[in-house]
Every structure is written in C-alpha cells, then in structure tokens.
C-alpha cells in the first residue's frame, strides 16, 4: 500500500499532498516538513530509500523518493510494495506529467494542482497502484479534460479558456523536470 504521496520543492513548499490515511491538517503539515528535512539533507547520489517510518505508520514503512530539478517526489509505502517498482512508478508519473503539460516544470504544478491530482488519480487509487501504462493514463486523463472543456464551452462561452499549461511569462525556455533523466529499472512493460 502507498500511504502518502508528497511533492514539494527544494525549499519544502508543498506542491501536492495526497494522504491515503486520515490525518489532521496540522499533522499533515508536520509530516511534510519532517519528510522534507529527511530528504533534503541527502546527497544527490545516495540511494533513494529512507527508513523514516516514524512519521506515518510503523517501522514497516519506507520513504521512496526522487529528485527532479526543483522538485522532490516522495512516496511513503509499506513493505507490500516493491521498492524498485515504486521508483519506476515515480518515473512514469513524472513522464506522464511531462506529456500532459508539455515539458513540465514546477510552475505547472503550482498553478494546476487540481490537474496533477486528476492525473495521479488515474495511476494510484486509495493507496493502490491502479495503472502503470503511460499511454492508458494519458488517454483517460485527456478524455476527461476534453469532456470538461466541452461542458464549459457549452455552458459558458464567456469563460476564460482553461489552458493545460500556462505560458511562461518570461518567455524563456523553462527547465523541464525531466532533464535529469533517471535510468528506469523496468526495461519493458507490456
């Protein structure tokens, strides 16, 4: 089971938090803070597993994280999940975001938290892995946003368009999250 999925930036600002068990808002913030402290002090080329099981649940839990450019993607999982499998899942998640937002960067996540949630919901449901096939995830996510668009347009042509990615105000090429590629442990998935 996946207990929680957290995304925060290099300064510990949360960009997405999904807890599959109930905690109060204060506890959630504390968990995010502590996880950030644990993860951020680690060097770039050390292993991606952390036994900080004190935060959520018992010692059965592990933090599995990846660092992409300015963002940390942290999955808190118990022993029923394969460690390397989750690392791959994070990679699938980020690659999916990259496809949906076209060269995803932190700003996309900041302004479109709801969309990130929707994409994540196609991958993980109630703490269990739902889908790992990237094209399937993208198909479903896009079908839903298409439906959303048609609804909005039919209802209100006045509405400002909901763009999938925000144009960068500076006009500079944004550094994408995926520029630092990780070698996947999964060679092929059919």
């Amino acid at each position: 089971m996946i207990k929680a999925i957290l995304i925060f930036n290099n300064h510990g600002k949360p960009r997405l938090s999904k807890f599959y068990e109930h905690y109060t808002e204060d506890t959630e913030q504390q968990i995010i803070r502590e996880t950030f402290h644990l993860v951020s002090k680690r060097d770039e080329n050390v292993c991606n597993f952390l036994e900080g099981g004190l935060l959520i649940g018992g010692s059965d839990n592990k933090l599995i994280y990846r660092h992409y450019a300015t963002l940390y993607f942290v999955f808190c999982v118990d022993s029923s999940e394969s460690e390397l499998g989750i690392l791959d899942l994070i990679q699938v998640f980020v690659e999916t975001l990259d496809k949906c937002f076209e060269n995803v960067c932190e700003l996309d996540l900041i302004f479109h938290m709801d969309k990130v949630h929707n994409i994540l919901a196609e991958m993980v449901m109630g703490g269990m892995v739902l889908e790992t096939n990237m094209s399937e995830i993208i198909t479903q996510a896009e079908a839903q946003s298409k439906m959303e668009k048609s609804e909005i347009c039919a209802f209100l042509s006045l509405c400002r368009p909901l763009s999938f990615s925000v144009p960068d105000r500076t006009g500079r090429r944004r550094p994408g999250l995926l520029e630092l590629q990780h070698a996947p442990y999964r060679p092929s998935r059919t």
Partner: protein, 1238 residues
C-alpha cells in the same frame, strides 16, 4: 432565469480562480497568512451564492488551501453540494475536495450515500470513475455496507476502466465492512483471469494485499497464482504475485519447492532489476521455509547470494541498498553463505550513504563469531571516532552493544575487554544512549560474577573522573553511566581497593548538578560504601579512619538533604541521621560495623522480563470471583434518610446493579491488576502443590576464582585494544599448549603418521579467558510461555481473517437497497441454511433491521464471524444429522487433495496442470483446516483434533512433541526425496511406526496396514470423535502402487450389531461408499469414514471390501480387495488432560476398579515409554516423578482410565484403574501388545 445565469457567469469573471489565488499568495510573501484569511472570507461569500460554478470554483480553491494546512472542514456541506452537480467538471472538483478532507468523523458523509450510488450507476463512465476514486479515500463503514452491492455489480461492468477501479476499491470496502468479503470473493477471484490486463492487475493487487495479512486463507489460490506467474508478462503483476508467494511459502513448504524452479528461471532470464530482486527475495523466503539444507538448495542459496553480491557491488546506490537488505534475510537462516562476503560488507561500512552504512551494520550483527567479534568491534569503534552526525554515531553505539550482547553474550570470550569497550563508549559526547551503556554495565556486573572485581575497579575510576563525563551540559545523556557506576561500586564494594577514595568521589559537591535519580543512587550507595569502610576498619585499635569517614558523610550529606528532588532528600536525611547515630556509638567505642552491614545484606538477582506475567494462576484460584460481595448501591441508599421505600426496592435494584457492573467489574479488575503489577510488595501467588524441582539459584553456581592476567588497576582510561592484544596472546598460548599436549599424547601413543598443523582455528577451539558464569534471569516456576502480547488487537485486518471457502449462506448476501428492509428474509428461507448457527443468524438479520450501527457493534460482528467460522469447523467434526456426513468429510478431503495433488505432483505435463487448476478453482476453494491438513502430516492432524478442549499448557507440550516428530520425519523424508514425493508420507510413517530408533523421540505413527495387493495399499487410523459418544472416525490412506489409473473406488463394510458404517440418507444398509477421489499412478490420498458404535468395552473386527476399476490405456478391469477393520479399545479413548488434584480426587472416589500389568524386558528410556503410551493409546501424563508417572485418558463414552506407570531396569509395571473393568482389561492387553512389538 437566463439573465441570472449570465449574471452569475459575469460575477464569476470577477472572482479569483485557483490560478489567481496561487498568484496572489506568491505576490504576498510577507503577509501570506493575512492574504489567505481575506481569500477565505471571499470564498465564504462565494459559497453562499446559488451559482454552482461559483461554488465549485470556491471549493477548488479550498482544496489548494487545505494542502497548505488550512482546515476547510467547515465547508464540508458545500463540498457535498458541488459533488452532486450534474456537470462532470464540478463533480470532479467536489469529489477531489472530499477525498482530500473527508474522513470517518465527517458527519455530512452520510448525506452522500445516495448521490454516490447515483454516480456509480451513471451512464457516463467518468462520473462513475470519479465517484469510485473519491470513495476510495473517504469510505466509511456505513458507506461500505450500503454501497458494497453496487460496487460489486460494477466489477462486472462492460468497460475495463470501471472494472479495474471497482475491483481495486473492494479492498477498502472489505476493510470497512468485513462481512462483504465472503460474498464478493468469488467474483474477485474471477477477475484474476479478466481479459483486460489492468483489471487483472487490480485483482492481483487486492488479493495480494488481503493475503499478506491473513495468508492461510488464500493458500488455496496458489495454483491459480502459479499459473498467472508462469503465463503473465506484466512485470507489475509478476512482482505482486512473487511477493505474495513470499508470504505463502512459510505456510506450505511444498509450495516453495514447486516455486524454486520457475523463480530460478526468471532470475536467469529477466532483465528487469525490480523483478529480479523480488524473485531473489521470494527464493530466500522459500529457502527459509525449507530451512534444512537439501542438496539442490545450496545451489539456490549460492545463486541468490551471488546475484545479491552483484547488486551490492553495483554503482547504483539503490541496488546496493536492496542487496544488503535482502542479504540480511539470508543471514538469519544461512549465516555461513553470507559470512563469506564479509569483506564486501565491511567495505559498505565506509560508504558515504548513511542508509547503506546502516544496512551493513545490520548485517554485521549476524556475522560475528567468537573469533572475529573483537576485530569487528574494533573496526566499529574506529567508525565511532570518525562519525560526524550524532544519529549515525548513536546507531553505531547501539549496534556495538547489540552485537556484543546478542544471545546472552554468546560471542564474548573476554569480559574485561567488553567492560573496557563500554567504558570507552562513555567518552562519546552528546549521545542519547547513556542509559543503554549503563544497563549493559549493570547487566554484566550482576550476571558475570567473575568480572565484578574488574568492573568495580573500572567503575571506581569512572566515578573518580566523573567531571570528564558530565562536562558542562546537564542534558548530556552520558551521565547515565554514573548511575550504573555508583550502583556497582556500592553493591560490590567488597571488591573495591580503596572504598574511602570512591566514597569521597561520590560525595563531591559537583554531584549535586547531576539529575535527581542519579544523585539518589549516589546517596544510597554512599551508605553502602560507608558500611564497607566501617567493616574494614573494625577491630583496628585506632578507630581514627572509621570516625573520619563518618565525619565526611556528616559534612557532605547536608548538601543532598537540601536537594529539590524528593527521593534524594529523603534518602539523604535518613542516612544522615543514621550516620550521626553511628558516630555517637563510635565515640563510645561500640562495634557497629556488623549491624550497619546487615542493612545491605543479601544479593539481588536479575529477574527475567515479564516474569510476573508468566506466573501461572494456581488451580482453584478464580481471580474474577468476589472475595467479598460488593456493597450494592441500594444498601448505601438504605442508610440514607429515604428509607421508606427500602422494602420494595432492594431486590430490584440489586439485580440491576450486578448487571450493570459487568463493565465496571472488568475495569476494576484491570485497575487492580495494574496496581498489583506496579506494587513491588504485592505478594506473588506462589505456585501450589506442584513439586519443586531444583530451580537454578545463585547459590548453586560455583564461583570460580579468576586468574587475572591483567593488572586490576589500569592507569587512566582503559584501552580495549590492550585486551585485544592480550586476548590474542592468550589464544596463541592456549593453542600452543594444546599443540604441546597433542604432541605429547602422540608421542605417548607413538602415532604412526604425523599430522600437520591442525588447520585454522575453529569456533569451538576458543575458550573464554576465564570461566564465566552467566547468572540466568530468574523466572517463576511453571512459568507460562506467553507470546500473546505481540498481536495488535486494533489491527483492522484482523476482521478480515475470514474463511473464504465455506459456501455462502443466504444471510451473508450483501444488503440490497429495498423499500422495506425489515422483510429481508422469511423464516422459511432461514431454515435452508443449516450451516449457520441459529443465534448468529438472528443477530445478523437483526442488524440489518437496525441498518445503523456503531463501530463497537461492528467489531462484535467480526468477532462473531470468527466464532461462526470456528463453529463451522466444529460442525464439520460434529457431523450434524441433517447433512450426509460422508459427503462433508469427503468433500473436504477432496478439496484438500486438489491442492495436495497440485503441490505433490512434480513436473506435471501442462495439460494435466490446467485441469487441476480449473477444478480447484471451481470447487469453492479449500477449507483452512484442510489446508492445514495439507501442510502437516495426516497423523499429526488427527492428533491435534481431539486437542481442542485441552488446556493450553498441555497443548503446547504436545505440539512441541509433534514438532520434534515432524522434524524427524522431515529429515527422514529428505533421504527419500528422489523416489518419493512429499504427500505419500503414509509409507514412511508405517515404516517409522515399527522401526525402532534410538535417543530423542522415535517417530511414531498410528497408521496400520489395512490391506494390500498389487494395485493398492490401504493404511488406516481409528480415532474416537470427542464430540459424539457413539462415533468413531476411520481415516484410510489409499496408495496406488500400480502404473494404471484407479477410479470408481467403493468402500463397503459388513455392519455388525454393534458397529455400523454411517451411510448417507437414503442409502441401503449394504451399499458401499464412493471414495471421493481417483488415484493416478503412484499417488496416495486420504478419505475418512464415520462409524457409529454402541458398546465400546470390547474390541471389534469388521469385514469389508474395496472395489475399484483399474484403467490402463487399452482396457479397464474391476478389482477388489478384502480387508478387516480392527476397532481396538484404544481407538475409543480420547486424549484428555487432567490436573493432579482432580486426578487424586478421582482415585479417592473409589468408583474405579483396578487391574495391573507387568512388562518385562522393555528396553527404552522412560520418556519414550510414556510417549508411546500417550501416542498410541491416547493417554496424557498427569504427573511424572523420576521413573514413575500417572496417566489419564477418557473414552468417548466418558469412562475414566487412570494408569500408574513405574519403571525399574527393564521391568515396567502398570497399575490401572477404570470404571469399566472389561474396557480396562482390553486396553491393558493392547498396551502389552504395543510393547511386545518393539
């Protein structure tokens, strides 16, 4: 209307949307909180509007604020409103918000039931999908109960997108509403073979998650998963299945054997590291479950270790980490294979990555031996010095202590070295683990008597240099060691060289800065030291020194009397007064030393943890009974002036009082227990009449003088390295001595060939520096082995421990929404399902009526479920009249045999395998008890069955015995492995039953040969049914000895007046019973038949016939085999435990008639003799004293049989008593026969 919409949309144009909110927050970095609070006010305004678009926008913003840590639960109702919008866009926003902030305590959740149900059945698949996703996050027991049926329907939806979500969410539903598991399980199982890979993967996911918590219930799915494993190419699914097998193998070693080959193939073939790693992990689990070194398995271990080495050597830190993690699992069972990679692991200790260093440390724990302990610890000490971060250093410290203290200091050969290590560790600044070092010091000093002198000397030095430890910070955890040091110096003061000096050190003013509890120990032990000093100077003509000591105390103690800590203050003032009084006596030249020492006389022994808890409750003591009737409330009311009504009331109120009190009682009992546990003065219940065997007391342990090769006093701080060197020298010397001796011997013997060097020093060669007595921790006599405290009663998965194999009853159907839920069931329907006990049925239908129930009830129901399950088992054993019992029995064995067959058949041609798989899938899976049967030897199962009513104590004993037997048998089987496949243990056991073995317990079996010809062999065992006084169960193992297929087997017996075979209803008295299985060549299987008997006092013989068809490729022939079924009187006896006092009463009662038996020339140890009587004749030992034992058993009709067995060289005399003389005579004859056979 249109205007309103337009107006609303225009309003919306001016509202902030999520992006605006985020931008706003980013622009208000300085006053973020203030900005957000104005935003929340705006949101509150927006939520008041009618326009759903505005509301949705507001809710979306709230979701963002929730992530930032703002409580948005006040908007829960608005979230429900948005959820119920007909527009997908808003609905999704609503569900997202709900999934982020709803939980079981959210009260508006109960308003959502109908909305969610509507969304689930929406024609739009994304409406359904969104509802399922949301529900997965906030499902409550109520929602789960009300929606379970709807979700179950969705599991068969046409769209795979819905199917996979519905399958996955079922896990959450099961957790919240355990009753849904059984009705939904068949469909869930079906989804394992769904054409869509996503759905399949979801089903695997759910079942793996379920099976991980309660593996035994899912053992029957093993063939199906095995098929998936060999056919699936989806790595995600494979990983899950392989992980699941890792959880199942400990329950069924034969499964492991089957797995090794395909897993090994995967390891060789896959290029996915994640899959490879999980395969290695599961192979390790298999090897652990097999645990004994079979020849072809050492290759598997080698393969694993070799693959892991590759992972550890990889430059990828993740692989390195996981490699070490898996290595530590191998370490537990195959330490030798890991130890050869010590170099690699020590290398990992230097890794820059802390996670990896910690893993390597874990591995070190299992790699130490007597030989390398010092070396490894030395290396760790170097790391301690180098380590920067305190957390890692603390981890190192605990590891060093763990490694050294493991299994009762097994690897420590030189305790002086260990003490010096501990003392060196005290030099760590800012460690949190001062108390850990302290407890080690205390433990070693108390338990290793020989080291006390050395320890005391070291501790005295520590006390003298206390200023080095305490440093400047009060919070410094290391000062805890002073606690230990002070206590050791005080308690073992007789070993101190200069107690005066230490006393002075303990009374320095600086001590007052230490934490209170340490000061208290200082003060108390100062008094002990004082006593020692007095004694030392007693008798000297010059009493100057003694008086000086008193003066010192009188001078220094007032400092402690002023302490703010009560404990310190109290002890100090007591002791101060005492010393003042002593001083007075001294001035009068009175000898006081004797009396002062007497204050601290006696030795303190270590008590084992949980010792108090393990004291058995003496027989006859009912802790729940009242000692005095509790004063009822009415009585106290009586005393009140309002006594007018007293005459009418009392009876009424009293009865109510006792009822109400049940809970209160439990609470008080708990409180009392707590109080007693915390009260050291509470007199523990002494175990009663039982004979006291020599408990290991301290007095019995010989105290050995140590031959100190090291000067006691080491100047300054000790260096453990010194001891390493000394120890090495000592070992060298010892080795040389040994060699010399050997040479001498050889010379004396004039050995022919001269052997070279004795090779590398082996483990056993290293003897400890001096003989060390480790004082064992004290345990109460008759301590109960209690391992029940590691289970968490609140684990939600406990409720899911549900038998999935028994057929569904009507009452278990998922609640479907109806207009009148009251008339859910008619009593006529009720009558049909007789598998469910009446009361639970009532209960569950009542529950449905109530519809709403609190959590507590839920728990109750899950408990009931368990009861139900247990009952169900009983039902099977009991064989109710309404069911044709053979059918039940044989059904059970048939299912068991499917799994058995699958497990036992070595490489089966693929076609055959598919057949078995589907058949076992169709048969509503295997009962857990039969799964157990599959796991254990058949005769063991038989043996445990009547155990149900036994006391746990007895059971434990029995199980232990069985275990021994099992192990023995396993060994035996391994020899036979190649030509003999697991299940056919029958042949083995028959041989074992007659073969005489030496020492421990020889394997035994009650299966005896029934009949045999060239086609088939039948062995049988007869056991009484402890629940029915007229039923006997005959278990027959059929073994196909031929090369052809045996089918249509029919078992028939010619009934006598007294004994009859139980046939199904409607069958004639001479009809045979069909054996519920067929036998492929070389396979054996077991069937059970029930007989009813009237009189049990005489043995019986019944003639019978087995007819069967032998089918070969060309032809098939009818064959038959005659047999004689022998019902001995023993088979009517049931092992029943009996307590010694009840036994004595029984003998005293005089109702029993006696008889006796003498056996000559019995050449076996007494405990073998007893074991044989217990095993073959179903007795239990009541009491055993030396070579005399009393035994007890009971017949199925309640006759008591008592034996007194005495043995003196080769002659055994048995005095027996029973209330039925002819039964007794026959039993004795049978016992005689048993022993004449061997």
């Amino acid at each position: 209307m249109a205007l309103k919409i337009v107006k609303g949309s225009i309003d919306r144009m001016f509202d902030k949307n999520l992006q605006d909110l985020v931008r706003g927050i980013r622009n208000h970095k300085e006053d973020e909180a203030k900005y957000i609070s104005t935003c929340i006010d705006e949101i509150k305004q927006e939520l008041k509007q009618d326009n759903i678009a505005v509301k949705a926008n507001a809710v979306c913003k709230l979701t963002y604020l929730q992530m930032l840590g703002y409580d948005v639960s006040w908007a829960a109702f608005n979230i429900v409103e948005v959820m119920s919008s007909s527009k997908f866009t808003y609905k999704r926003i609503g569900y997202l918000a709900a999934s982020q902030c709803f939980h079981e305590g959210t009260d508006v959740i109960m308003l959502t039931t109908n909305q969610i149900r509507k969304d689930l059945s929406s024609p739009n698949q994304y409406d359904t999908g969104v509802a399922l996703t949301g529900l997965s996050c906030f499902v409550t027991p109520d929602l789960a109960r009300d929606l379970a049926n709807d979700i179950m329907t969705l599991m068969s939806h046409t769209k795979p997108y819905i199917r996979k979500k519905a399958v996955l969410i079922m896990y959450k539903v099961f957790l919240k509403y355990p009753e849904s598991l059984r009705p939904a399980f068949p469909r869930l199982k079906e989804k394992l073979e769904d054409p869509d890979p996503g759905v399949q993967s979801a089903a695997v996911n759910v079942i793996c998650e379920l099976a991980r918590r309660n593996p035994k219930n899912y053992l029957s799915l093993a063939p199906l998963f095995f098929k998936l494993m060999t056919s699936s190419t989806n790595n995600w699914v494979l990983i899950k299945i392989i992980k699941l097998f890792g959880a199942l193998t400990p329950l069924e070693p034969r499964l492991g054997k089957k797995l090794i080959e395909p897993l090994t193939n995967l390891i060789h073939s896959t290029s996915a590291m994640s899959l490879l790693y999980e395969c290695v992990n599961t192979v390790i689990a298999v090897l652990i479950s097999l645990s004994s070194g079979m020849p072809n398995h050492s290759a598997s271990i080698q393969l694993c270790v070799q693959k892991l080495r590759i992972l550890i050597e990889d430059s990828d830190q993740n692989l390195k980490y996981l490699g070490l993690l898996a290595m530590s699992k191998i370490l537990k069972t195959h330490p030798k294979s890991v130890q050869s990679h010590k170099d690699l692991i020590l290398q990992c200790l230097d890794d820059k990555d802390e996670s990896i260093r910690l893993r390597a440390l874990d591995l070190l724990y299992g790699m130490v031996s007597k030989k390398n302990l010092m070396e490894i610890v030395k290396k760790l000490m170097l790391h301690v010095d180098k380590a920067e971060g305190t957390t890692y250093r603390d981890e190192l410290l605990t590891k060093i202590i763990d490694i050294c203290s493991q299994s009762n200091y097994q690897y420590i050969t030189n305790f002086e070295w260990y003490i010096s290590i501990l003392v060196e560790l005290t030099r760590l600044e800012g460690t949190r683990h001062g108390h850990l070092i302290a407890s080690q010091m205390l433990d070693v000093a108390i338990r290793v008597k020989a080291i006390r002198a050395f320890a005391v000397a070291q501790m005295a030095t520590l006390l003298d240099n206390a200023h080095l430890l305490t440093g400047n910070t009060q919070r410094n955890g290391i000062c805890e060691v002073l606690y230990a040091a002070a206590w050791i110096c005080g308690e073992f003061a007789e070993h101190l060289e200069d107690p005066m000096l230490t006393l002075e050190a303990m009374l320095r003013p600086k001590v007052a800065t230490l934490p209170g509890h340490i000061q208290a120990v200082y003060v108390q032990n100062a008094a002990k030291l004082f006593a020692t000093v007095l004694q030392k100077h007693e008798g000297e003509t010059d009493s100057q020194a003694a008086q000086e000591t008193s003066q010192l105390l009188i001078d220094r103690l007032p400092l402690f009397v002023q302490s703010a800590n009560l404990e310190v203050q109290e002890r100090a003032s007591c002791i101060l007064q005492l010393v003042k009084y002593i001083q007075k006596l001294q001035q009068k030249n009175v000898e006081v030393a004797e009396e002062v020492t007497a204050l601290f006389a006696g030795e303190l022994n270590p008590v084992a943890p949980k010792a108090q808890k393990k004291v058995p409750i003496p027989e006859g003591l009912d802790l729940d009974a009242w000692i005095n009737e509790p004063p009822s409330e009415s009585e106290s009311e009586d005393e009140k002036p309002k006594a007018v009504f007293a005459k009418e009331e009392p009876k009424h109120s009293r009865s109510r009082h006792t009822e109400v009190d049940e809970k209160e009682l439990a609470r008080r009992r708990e409180a009392r227990k707590q109080e007693q546990a915390n009260n050291p003065f509470y007199i523990k219940a002494s175990p009663s009449s039982q004979k006291v065997y020599d408990a290991p007391g301290v007095e019995h342990i010989p105290v050995v003088q140590i031959d100190l090769s090291v000067p006691l006093k080491v100047p300054g701080m000790p260096m453990s390295d010194q001891y390493v060197k000394l120890e090495e020298e000592r070992r060298q010397k010892e080795k040389a001595d040994k060699k010399k001796k050997e040479k001498k011997k050889k010379r004396e013997k004039r050995g022919k060939g001269r052997k070279g060097d004795s090779g590398p020093e082996s483990e056993e060669d290293i003897t400890p520096a001096h003989h060390v007595d480790i004082v064992t921790e004290e345990m109460p006599e008759n301590a109960l082995p209690s391992d029940d405290d590691d289970k968490d009663p609140n684990d939600p998965h406990k409720a899911l421990d549900i038998d999935l194999d028994k057929p569904l009853a009507d009452s278990e159907k998922l609640p479907v929404r109806t207009h009148r839920p009251e008339v859910l069931k008619s009593p006529a329907e009720d009558r049909d399902d007789n598998t469910i006990p009446q009361e639970t049925k009532k209960k569950s239908s009542k529950d449905k009526k109530e519809k709403k129930k609190d959590k507590e009830k839920d728990r109750k129901r899950s408990k009931e479920d368990k009861k139900k399950k247990k009952k169900h088992k009983d039902v099977e054993e009991e064989l109710p009249e309404s069911l044709p019992e053979e059918v039940v029995q044989s059904e059970e064995t048939k299912e068991a045999s499917d799994l058995d067959f699958w497990l036992s058949s070595a490489p089966v041609p693929p076609v055959a395998q598919v057949v078995t798989v589907s058949s076992s899938a169709a048969a509503a899976t295997v009962d857990s008890s039969s799964a157990a049967a599959a796991e254990s030897e058949p005769e063991e199962l038989k043996d445990t069955e009547p155990d149900d009513t036994k006391s746990s104590k007895h059971k434990k004993k029995k199980q232990k015995k069985e275990k021994e037997e099992k192990e023995k048998k396993k060994k035996k089987r391994h020899h036979h492995h190649h030509h003999h496949h697991s299940d056919a243990g029958a042949e083995d056991s028959v041989q074992n039953g007659t073969v005489e073995d030496e020492e421990p317990l020889p394997p035994m079996s009650n299966y005896s040969l029934l009949a045999e010809n060239s086609y088939i062999k039948m062995v049988c065992d007869i056991q009484g049914n402890h629940q029915d006084e007229s039923k006997v169960v005959v278990s027959v193992i059929f073994e196909n000895k031929s090369d052809s297929f045996l089918k249509s087997m029919e078992f028939n017996v010619l009934d006598s007046l007294n004994s009859k075979l139980q046939r199904p209803d409607g069958a004639g008295p001479h009809d045979g019973l069909t054996v519920p299985f067929q036998l492929p060549p070389g396979v054996s299987n077991e069937a059970r038949f029930v007989f009813s008997v009237q009189s049990i006092v005489m043995p019986q013989k019944l003639k019978g016939t087995l007819t069967f068809i032998v089918k070969t490729d060309e032809s098939s022939t009818h064959e038959k085999l005659d047999f004689k079924l022998h019902f001995t009187c023993t088979s009517y006896l049931i092992t029943t435990p009996c307590y010694s006092d009840a036994y004595a009463k029984l003998l005293e009662s005089g109702d029993l008639k006696g008889s006796s038996l003498r056996l000559e020339g019995v050449n076996m140890p007494f405990h073998h003799l007893l074991a044989r009587i217990c095993f073959h004749h179903h007795f239990s030992v009541v009491e055993r004293i030396d070579s005399c034992a009393s035994m007890y058993s009971r017949s199925i009709q309640g006759h008591h049989v008592c034996l007194l067995v005495k043995s003196s060289d080769q002659t055994v005399s048995i005095d027996a008593k029973c209330d039925e003389p002819s039964l007794l005579g026959n039993v004795l004859d049978e016992i005689k026969q048993t022993f004449s056979k061997c």
